[in-house]
Subunit: 325 residues, 2 copies
DNA sequence: ACCGCTAATACTCAAATTGAGTATATTCGG
DNA sequence: CCGAATATACTCAATTTGAGTATTAGCGGT
C-alpha cells in the first residue's frame, strides 16, 4: 500500500535520526498459596523487573519478551498479556543516554516458584512494594502514615485541594469504610504525585515510606507492578486467569486463598464455593487432600472446557467484613 | 541508578543499530445519535487511521498523539486512553523500509463530528469496516457468508478442526442464539486467521468479503479498530465513558441509542432508564426536548460528580430479544 | 375542545442472584 | 469415643434483574 505511506514517510524522516530504544519488561506473577509473588532481579540499590531490549530477531513483541525472560531467569512463561507501553521522557529515559526509551510491559502468570539462579532473579512478595494493598488482616498499618501524609498534601495545594481530597478519598476509601481492590494504579499515581514513594523524588530526599523499610524499584517499575496488580485483580473477576497460577490439582480453599492473596481482601467462604461450582470452573479429581487439620478436602482441577463454553467465566468476588471463614 | 543498567546496556548495544520506528495511531470515535463513527484518512486504495511517528519533542506518548491528531485533523481530543502496542514484524513492518516498526494505538472519544478538512479526514461508520458487529436490526446478513466460510475453514484443517470449530462457535455464537458484544477482537482474529478479510491475503487474492463491498483499511488498522471497539464496549459497562460522546444535554433515549450504537445490540428501554437513574449518572437540566413525536422528553446532563463518588459507575447493559422499545 | 397518535415516564412482579448465616459431615489426635 | 478443626450442605431474606403493563403529555388534525 505505497500511496498511503506518502505523507507518513516524510513525517518519519524528520525523526529518522531519533534513536529509539524499546525495552520489553515483564511482571511475572506466581502464587504460593498465601502470598502473591513477583519475580525481580536484585540490583543495587533497587530491584528491577526482568527486561531486555526489543531485537530485530524478535518476530513478535511477545516472543521477544519470552526470549528475554527465558534467557534471564530460565523460566518458561505460559500465560502472557500485554499491559501497557510507557514512554514519558521524564520517567523512562535514562539520564546520559541519548535518544528515547519506550517500555513495553507485559503481565505473565506462572505456576511454580522455580526461580532460576541465572542472573540471580528471585521471588518477592508483591506487597513488599505495595504494602498498602493488602487488607487481608484488616487495614494495613501504613495507611495511617499515608492518610496523614495525603492530608498535608491536600492542604498544601490551594485551589486544587478540593479535587485532590476527593481523589484521595475515593482511591483510599477515606471517610467511607469501603476499599476498591482494583484501584491499585490510582492509588500509586496519587502517592507518586504526592511525593510519597521514593521514585517520585529527584534528589535523594527521604519520604515517609523510606523510613518504613521501603523496597524501592528501579525506573518506573513500581508503577508497572501497580498496573499489573490492578489489571490482574480486575481480570480474575471475569476471566478464569487465576487457574494459571494454580497447580494441576488443588482444594477449593487453596483456590480461595490464592484469590484472596491477589485481591488483598478476605472472601466469604461458602459463597466463594457456590460461585466456583455454579460457574462450572472446576471438576473433581476424585482424590482427597487429608492434611487439612479437619475433614479432608476434595481435590479439584480446572475445567479447561469452560474457556470454550462461556465467554466470561470469572470469579465475581463477594467480600466479607469479618473473617469468620 | 547506574549499576542496574549494567547488563542491559550491553544487551542494548547489540541492537543499537536496529532502526526503530514508533507510530502513534488513534482510533477516534464520535457518535451521531444512531451510528458510531470513526475518523479516517481516505488514502488510496485503503482508509487509514490518523497517525504519526513518535518524535523527540513529545514529552509523553499521549501528548505526541494529541499533537499529531490536532495537526492532521484540526481536532482537539478530550478523553484518550492507550489501547495496545502492535509490533509483529509480518503485520506492521512496511516492505522496503529497513528496521522495525511499532504501532502504539490509542482510543479517543470526542463529542462532535467536526471533521476537519485539513488532510481530508472524514467520519466513517464503524460498521463499514466491521459489518458483522451490528446486531441492532437482527442478525447481520454478512454472517451467513461468514458462517459458511468458517465451516469450510474448519473442515480444511484436520486435527485442529475441533478447536477451530469451538472457537468459531464461541466467538460468533454459532449454534447458540447468544452474541457477546465484547468479543470483537476474537472475531476479527478468527476472520483474519481464516483469510476472510482482505488484509489477511498477501497477494491480491479476493475473499468473500471483497465481493461484498468491503472497505479495507491499511496495515493493521482494521485490527486496531476491532481492538478499540471491543475495549469500548467493555468499558461502557463499568465506567461512564459514554458521556464523553454525548453533548452537554441530551435525553435518556439519545443516551440509549448511543449505547446501542456502540454495543451493536438493542436494550430494554425501561430497564435502561432505571439503571441510569439508580446509578445517579445524570441530573435534569429542567428543560424539555419537544421534537420527540410524542410526549416531550426531559433533557438531562451527565453528573460529573459520580466520578468522584463511586469507583465504577458504568452501564451494565441488559439486552432484549425483540425490539419493542 | 377533543381524538388519536406517539413517545416518555411510572409502576408491577416473578425469577435469579447475592450476602450472610446455620447445620451437618469427616478427619485426627488424644 | 471425645473434642477440635475443617469441609461441605443447606437456608433465607434482601437485592437486583428481566420483562412487562399502565399512565401521562404534547402534537396535528378536525
Amino acid at each position: 500500500m505505497p500511496s498511503s505511506q506518502a505523507d507518513r514517510s516524510s513525517a518519519a524522516s524528520e525523526v529518522e535520526g531519533l534513536a529509539l530504544f524499546a525495552e520489553l519488561s515483564a511482571v511475572i506473577i506466581a502464587a504460593s498459596v498465601d502470598e502473591p509473588m513477583v519475580l525481580v532481579r536484585p540490583d543495587v540499590p533497587v530491584d528491577t523487573l526482568p527486561a531486555g531490549p526489543l531485537q530485530s530477531g524478535h518476530r513478535t513483541l511477545e516472543a521477544g519478551l519470552r526470549a528475554w525472560v527465558e534467557q534471564q531467569t530460565n523460566l518458561h512463561l505460559g500465560y502472557v498479556e500485554q499491559l501497557y507501553t510507557f514512554g514519558d521522557t521524564d520517567r523512562i529515559d535514562m539520564p546520559g543516554r541519548g535518544g528515547r526509551s519506550l517500555s513495553i510491559a507485559y503481565l505473565a502468570l506462572v505456576r511454580a516458584l522455580r526461580a532460576s539462579a541465572r542472573s540471580g532473579a528471585r521471588w518477592q512478595n508483591v506487597y513488599t512494594y505495595l504494602p498498602w494493598e493488602d487488607w487481608r488482616d484488616g487495614r494495613p498499618a501504613v495507611l495511617e502514615t499515608i492518610e496523614t501524609y495525603l492530608k498535608t498534601w491536600v492542604k498544601d495545594s490551594g485551589d486544587a485541594g478540593a479535587l485532590r481530597e476527593k481523589r484521595a478519598a475515593l482511591a483510599f476509601g477515606l471517610g467511607t469504610d469501603s476499599w476498591s481492590d482494583e484501584l491499585v494504579l490510582d492509588r500509586y499515581e496519587l502517592l507518586y504525585e504526592a511525593g510519597f514513594v521514593r521514585e517520585a523524588r529527584r534528589d535523594g530526599e527521604t519520604t515517609p515510606l523510606t523510613a518504613m523499610t521501603d523496597y524501592p524499584m528501579g525506573l518506573d517499575h513500581r508503577r508497572i507492578l501497580a498496573t499489573a496488580l490492578g489489571r490482574l485483580r480486575g481480570k480474575i473477576k471475569y476471566r478464569p486467569v487465576i487457574f494459571e497460577l494454580m497447580p494441576e490439582s488443588f482444594t477449593l480453599l487453596d483456590l480461595q486463598r490464592t484469590v484472596e492473596g491477589l485481591s488483598g481482601i478476605r472472601l466469604h467462604k461458602q459463597n466463594f464455593r457456590r460461585l466456583v461450582e455454579t460457574q462450572g470452573l472446576v471438576e473433581e479429581t476424585g482424590e482427597l487432600q487429608t492434611e487439612t487439620g479437619g475433614r479432608p478436602a476434595r481435590l479439584v482441577r480446572f475445567r479447561r472446557e469452560v474457556l470454550l463454553e462461556r465467554p466470561s467465566p470469572g470469579l465475581r468476588l463477594s467480600s466479607t467484613k469479618r473473617p469468620p471463614n
